[in-house]
């Protein structure tokens, strides 16, 4: 009787474990499979003046060349992406190179303020436009 009950308990425990594993799998898939839109925004934000030109590459995507007050969007899949930027001055010379890995975790779309990003500031992520 007691053994049977234990077996019953065991079986339900196992089922719960399997269920939990499946839910965890779902969450993980959600995490790694989500597609995000990364808005790249070369606009003045507070103290950070818009840059003359900045070329940005998100992961392996096409390079976005952004002049002053320009905005572009790139799509990435997964919780993390790499962003590489080259900042140009008026003469077309590269004055700064930045590469950074950014985590977005579960949030959907984000916007990167490039002047702030180029300045090495931490708060360069702003809410995505609707």
């Amino acid at each position: 009787m007691f053994v049977a009950f234990l077996k019953f308990l065991m079986r339900w425990f196992q089922r719960l474990v399997v269920l939990a594993a499946l839910i965890a799998l779902g969450v993980w898939l959600f995490y790694i499979g989500r597609e995000h839109q990364i808005f790249l925004d070369n606009k003045t934000l507070g103290d950070f003046k818009a840059l003359e030109q900045i070329n940005v590459r998100v992961n392996d995507s096409e390079i976005a060349e952004l002049m002053q007050r320009e905005r572009d969007v790139r799509k990435v899949v997964g919780p993390e992406f790499e962003i590489k930027a080259e900042v140009f001055n008026e003469d077309g010379e590269i004055i700064n190179r930045i590469a950074k890995k950014i985590k977005i975790n579960f949030s959907k779309d984000i916007m990167i303020n490039l002047p702030a990003f180029a300045a090495g500031e931490e708060n360069f992520i702003v809410p995505a436009p609707r």
Binding site: L22, L25, G26, L29, F30, G33, R34, E35, H36, K108
Partner: protein
Amino acid sequence: MIRKLFDIIANNAVPAVFIIISAFAIPLSGFSASYLVQELLTRIGRNSFLILSLLIPIMAGMGLNFGMVLGAMAGQIGLLLICDWGIVGIPGMVLACLIGTPIAIVLGIFCGHILNRAKGREMVTSYILGFFINGVYQMVVLYLMGWIIPITNPNLLLSRGYGVRNAVSLSGIRAVLDNLIPTIITNPEGAKQFLNINGSGSFLLLQLPFFDGAIRLPLATFIIIALFCVFIIWFRKTKLGQDMRAIGQSQSVADSAGIPVNRTRIIAIVISTVLACYGQIIYLQNMGTLNTYNSHDQAGMFSIAALLIGGASVSKATITNVFVGVVLFHLMFIVAPMAGKNLIGEAQIGEYFRVFVSYGIIAIALVLHAWKRNREREAARRSLRGNKGGNA
């Protein structure tokens, strides 16, 4: 002896007729061989899984599971949700399956209970059940989504703010499974050309010496289908499979032997519904667009027709039937409109012809089944007299 020969012909009459029709229609259509092979491979990958999901209820003697559309709907709900969340690629597909599974299980259990209450008319009941659940599905998708069930992606919603659009683009998961292992079949000559253009590396090249043209093979999908076939073969060998076969042949005997008949029947339907859910997801990843209110309807009818054309009957179906059926049915499907156009100058005729064939073949299969069953019943009664009978 002659009777046996007659039986063999009778049992394979349907595939034979289709081979003959195709033999006439293929030249009429004027399609090239490589085009046909490409189309067929695509469609085998697209449809086989759905059709395979029909096998298990047939094994359990429940006939053709017209209720498989329930599973298809569950899969579509999974797809709609991942679309809204923006989950793409293989993770998106797997997540859609993961979401669809519990819905399919619940629907399957419901369907199983209903069918247990309608023994002897499983098919017509599951057929009507499909319509009924379709109503519930429409209620959910058309009114609750975007209202109670949060849907935020404006590309999915109707302009009124709730309810899903009629056509949803599945660009995020389009052909992800088919192209997971990109494979090209071509002849050595074509292989060289291909390498020149694309460079080596990302493609698996299969070279067949006499092959004309180059076609893409959805290898990953085929691997999944092969795995599924292995699953079915394995399943037949399990105790559960054995119990289903027993129930399929005689419910009363199985019951008196202590096999839980109703429960086993429900399990059969649940398995079928869940598999149909996966099948529909595979189907739609290939298509790339979801017709929110129509895709599932056609899934059921075409799958059943294909299975029957493959030589299956209401009470017996094998994996071979599935593949023969999918090839023959879709061969006709591809060829008929063109053949119709070239023959009568009206493509519409071919369109209607293939619809007619789909329905007609199901009707004929059902008639033959009922007829045969009634004849067998009579024969069984006659055999009771034994050979001592004195009609001499």
